[in-house]
Symmetry: C4
Subunit: 274 residues, 4 copies
């Protein structure tokens, strides 16, 4: 093995592994830099702070960006299948996290897009005793996936209600009360249905307030639907808590009161033998 | 079979079926036109856009409306029981989707009612691999139907609370703080109970703010009720949806993916024999 | 039986029963009058409407009030245990529904308290095919009762959080940003925790907005608690859906998979014999 | 036993026990004083009330503070392991409840921190028939603890969404519409996601309103997640809390009120034998 490939192997371990001390240290430094750079970008947008510390923040951003660029290159060089990494979820985020600053030479304002780096914070799960959180986020993901068709139907209903109710409110309230176009009314309707209620526009005529009341109560009821959907998915998980695995086919997640494996018919032991 | 009845049959297949390529294509074009026309109506209501593109939007709406009118007539002519279609849910929506523009000759503003066309978007479910979504929306419907008496009792309670609390706030706050009539106060109370909170009216006296706090916390608790109702219905569904009974011991309510009875170990028929 | 006691019996049937046609008719008229009188009181508080129709509304209220007074007296005279009625829930509401107008001779404004009549609308459940709704409202009541200690702990937590967070915000934001006293800050904190968010007061300093963000996210999480509590109660109900009654002791509400009555040990028939 | 140690024992019983009449009386007086002092501090912050009653409130606070100081000293003197008390949750709160007023000699405004005393109200659970509430709060605590990893993942997601959506809104809306820095935009985004919606800042451009609509609907969906998590935990609890196993067939998870095993009909022992 040449020195080069040895170094490549070593670098790979540091960058991609989180079990060795070096790998853990690397990930920790990375996280701190990500946090720092997100904070830098946010602070730069505050006029008072930018006026005083513009230079420091600018230099800090460049240092971190150069580090991230080098890291990105190292990731490509040390991995076996570079294209798989480049087009993976993390690969794309890693790229998006470096380029805005380079683009900002040509296009003012694009440097703010560096906050995309916040997505890199997802790497935090690699450092934490990760399995528990992965398990949790897998459960979240699964519950959401299972509920997808129901949620699709639900969002569709919300959209249609918003368009129709928005039009009615536009006709009832009219421009003099701030409902100055149908898209604007639809926006108001979504603000109301979701119970956000900014109050930048609000009905002023008695009829408008009456219709708004109905929309609000509908929104109040509608909120029960996604909650019910997701909860039922979680509950389904929670209910299958018979922790036995079948001694024959290894299937787990039996019903609570199961005596026989639902997958192969083998008898289960209701209580561990003592 | 005459040529006429053959054409009628063919047209029926295109319009009403979604399995043939022609039927699918027709449904897709229909959906795009519906979306376009809803967007046109919404854009027409935006003063700046209307000022510049009034003519184009107007022509576009007419073209789509004429197409929809022809489609409506074709639907009546090709179906076997035209009256059943005319008075069906979709039949009424199809009619309501065409007439507003004709009425707008006599009655200005009525053309905005064309956004009723948004309801036609429900046809989207015919194109999508529909069964899953139908299943989902049936479940939603069933859960809501089952919860109806509970929801009725609940809404009744909300209404009575709103009227009484609204009156109290009217007496406490009075006209000088925006609570200028009992209906207006009741409106405010609904805005508060549903946690929308526009802030167009808000209590200004200490006593009023105290009462408002109680109403808010009540509203916060009350939101639990419809959620609990609907969730419990979903959960009941989610728990056991394998409707088979065991042929040996008659145990039902097996897990969704069960192949063997969890009570006696007998094999279940996962799929109905054909 | 004297004519008097016969009449008394007949009146009792009309007023208290809802099964006979006369009783049903009476209840229906009552409901309409209740609704009318609530609407009258609400309309009277609208300046524009009161200016024009004051006299009509005033006369209408008096007619209804006199009718209610007579009805109240009749209820006392025809019932066997008048004191039990007088001090019952409905008895007190019936009294409160008549006196405000009499008091308004001495005390201006008290006539608005007539909206207490809204509570009489609860009688609607007597006309509707009532059992289903009673069942539903009993379930609601039971679920809420069971959750009482949990809800008490929860409200206590909300209160303590509000007082402490309110004080912090008062110190951070101060009077110049509208947080002009601790009670006012606590009010703001409740408005925020419950996600109502009027916006009559809102944090203006960066630190205040940071603290407010934490409060909001806490509120967002806290809302899960009452929902979870009530839902779990409903779910407990929903799960016990084995509809068999024990042939021995008549106990119902067995567990889904029960084979023996949990109350007396008698065997249950898992499936109806055919 | 010396008189001193006898007195110490007696004082300990009064202060720490809640079963004896003296202990109960002491706790009750304590609670009233805590409530009073919190009210005093809150009232002192109201300019109008402070102007008139400053002296009375000031004296009242001092009297209560001195009482609390003596109580704190007595608690330390009478308990066997004083350091364990001092560094316990209640010990720290008891200390924090007395010092702010002493500090206010040197540091104006610190006396408002006396509202920390609100935490002492948690002692209320000692007087109430406590076990039920402890049980309830233990269940709350357990459900929240179990859901911790899921809630951590969830909060992380909310944070990342807020940062990225906040940046986009900053670029879209800009300073002229109130989105005058990224941290401010992130604050707005949290206000929106949590459906609080103050309306102190709200999008003014059509594109901004469109993005805001998406954020709101996301927030509406996201609220389902913590609710689902917590509810599923409660539901798991609620389903089966009779912890007995049948002595005959070892079946557990009986209904709460079960007297006989639902699986084999054997009698269960409803109460542990004494």
């Amino acid at each position: 093995m040449s020195i080069l490939s040895k170094w490549r192997k070593r670098l790979h371990d540091i960058i991609y592994e989180a079990d060795t001390p070096a790998g853990k240290g690397f990930d920790l430094i990375l996280l701190i830099l990500i946090l720092l750079s997100v904070v830098f970008v946010m602070l730069e947008s505050v006029p008072r702070i930018d006026a005083r510390y513009h230079e420091q923040l600018y230099i800090g951003e460049w240092i971190i960006t150069i580090f991230f660029s080098l890291e990105y290159i190292a990731r490509i060089l040390t991995v076996k299948k570079p294209f798989k990494y480049i087009f993976s979820f993390y690969g794309i985020i890693d790229l998006l996290s470096t380029i805005p600053l380079y683009i900002s030479f040509f296009l003012a304002g694009s440097s703010y897009l560096l906050t995309v780096r916040a997505l890199r914070l997802l790497r935090v799960f690699r450092i934490l005793k990760v399995t528990r959180y992965i398990g949790a986020s897998n459960k979240l993901k699964r519950a959401l996936l299972h509920s997808r068709p129901k949620i699709f139907v639900f969002l569709f209903a919300v959209l249609i209600i918003s368009i129709i109710a928005g039009t009615i409110m536009y006709l009832v309230e009219g421009e003099e009360n701030g409902f100055n176009s149908i898209p604007h009314s639809v926006y108001w309707c979504i603000v109301t249905l979701t119970t956000v209620g900014y109050g930048d526009i609000s009905p002023a005529t008695p009829l408008g307030q009456f219709i708004a009341s109905i929309i609000m109560i509908m929104g109040y009821g509608i909120i029960a639907v996604p909650t019910g959907i997701v909860t039922a998915e979680f509950a389904r998980d929670a209910i299958d808590i018979n922790t036995q695995s079948c001694t024959n086919c290894n299937e787990s997640k039996h019903k609570d009161n199961a005596k026989y494996c639902h997958s192969c018919g083998e008898e289960l032991n209701p209580e561990p033998l003592n």
